[in-house]
Amino acid sequence: MEAVIIGVGLHPFGRFAGKSAMDMAAGAVRSALGDAGVSWPQVQAGFVGSLEVYNPDAIVGRLGLTGIPLRGVFNGCATAGTAVAMAARAIETGEHDLTIAIGMDKHPRGAFAADPSVAGLPAWYGQTGMYLTTHFFGMKINRYMHDHGISHQTLAKVAAKNFRNASANDKAWRRTPLSEAEILASPVLNYPLRQFMYCGPDEGAAAIVLCRADQAHEYAGRPVRVRACALRSRRIGAFEVQSPSVPVAEHAPSPTVDASREAYEIAGIGPQDVAVAQLQDTDAGSEIIHLAENGLCKDGEQERMIADGETEITGRLPVNTDGGLIGNGEPIGASGLRQIHELVLQLRGAAGARQVAGAPAVGYAHLYGAPGVSAVTILST
């Protein structure tokens, strides 16, 4: 039985002093339940993701202790992809009729910091300043620009677009538009990437309610179909974040490519059918690379596509219509559910000032993060 999304809820992303991640998530859940016309006791199972909250499943203490199975999930920046996939799978297999996916986080300021041992890496890798994700993205886009003729100006155009889109989104964090000149004048953090080309860790929460497609008419929300969920880890020979070395004799594509191909195949939908996409824009370079890795263009085509405005809300293939990670920041557990929230609004025609014209029918969500993991979700009307 196919799973459909009948409710979405989003706590704004940003900084909320004195408010806990779990309180934000409880608010997002109440919004999603209200959107679906569902009460908490009707929810039969849930999947909850967070980096900072050790027991995110404790959220039931704020919603009602109904005794349902609530499972914690974590896959780094792809955490929400796992929450959605498992919530949908529980319906597809017939185990449950109505499920929920929840994500929450509240990160301290600045780059993520941890002991390398949490990722199975040696201590010296952190001591000498290499246990970071940010410099990987600088190195990957630097090589990509060299190989495929992408300019610094195009990096700035992507960041400017996402800040512009965020300015039309009252739940986004960075709502002040920035010009390409301002972006190109900001300090270089990891050459060629500058401060205003990066997303930042922040705070927020999101939730989505799913049910069996044949029962959707019983609820208030307009259903959006879950056509495919895929998650893939890195293969030997892929150039991946947090890798002290990479083999030279064999090459494999990013797990994004593997997850994307699998998702298109499951959905029976091709890249040419995608009407609106949310792509992991940890930085402006990542959005450019992910356009190609998700099959939405060929390597190098981005330079012309972006110059022509094709990825703008008014363009042929709108990308990160709510501002993406650059405009919203990244509360890791919730980030991918924000993408789903935006796609559902777009497919319902309810995205307001940032609505994509022409009644988009297919939405595409993509996540990527450490230690080389990618999740893709395809939705349709």
Partner: protein, 155 residues
């Protein structure tokens, strides 16, 4: 350097002191994959039997970036503070026929680095402890006379 105590950041990472230092990698006994650091298992086949292999001290720069802000401490244990932090460069250096290694680069200016340029291994101090002891790590330096590779592309 006489009088300055120097210690490597980790044992078993590189041969040093030496006029020709080498990174200490491993070659899987099962599938032959060369890896760095030596570690405990092969990323390709999962095999746990391997022979130590001293890697080539020369290679070419596959990609690079800069570290423009002080990495969070811990785990970073470089000297100084965010205010005194001096940016450094990082890259992946391809050791032909062996493996591509992530490393610090001795040249911090991206305008003086170019993809494809020849590089050689160096053991350099990256931090200094309270008693003056220098902490040493591996890095790659542009091979002298390799500047004709030209500056990095800038739009």
């Amino acid at each position: 350097m006489s009088g300055t105590r120097q210690v490597p950041v980790a044992e078993g990472l590189f041969t040093w002191p030496s006029d020709e230092p080498r990174l200490i990698g491993a070659q899987c006994a099962g599938c032959g994959l060369v890896r760095f650091p030596a570690g405990s298992a092969c990323e390709r086949c999962g095999g746990t039997q391997a022979a130590e292999r001293l890697l080539s001290g020369r290679g070419t720069l596959w990609t690079f970036t800069t570290q423009g802000f002080r990495p969070p401490s811990p785990p970073y244990d470089g000297a100084g503070t965010a205010a005194t932090f001096e940016p450094y460069a990082l890259g992946y250096v391809e050791l032909p026929g062996e493996v591509m290694v992530e490393a610090r680069l001795t040249e911090p200016d991206p305008a003086r680095l170019a993809i494809g340029q020849p590089m050689r291994l160096a053991i350099v101090p990256y931090s200094v402890s309270a008693d003056g002891t220098q902490l040493m790590t591996f890095a790659f330096a542009p091979v002298d006379g390799a500047d004709q590779a030209g500056p990095a592309t800038e739009a």
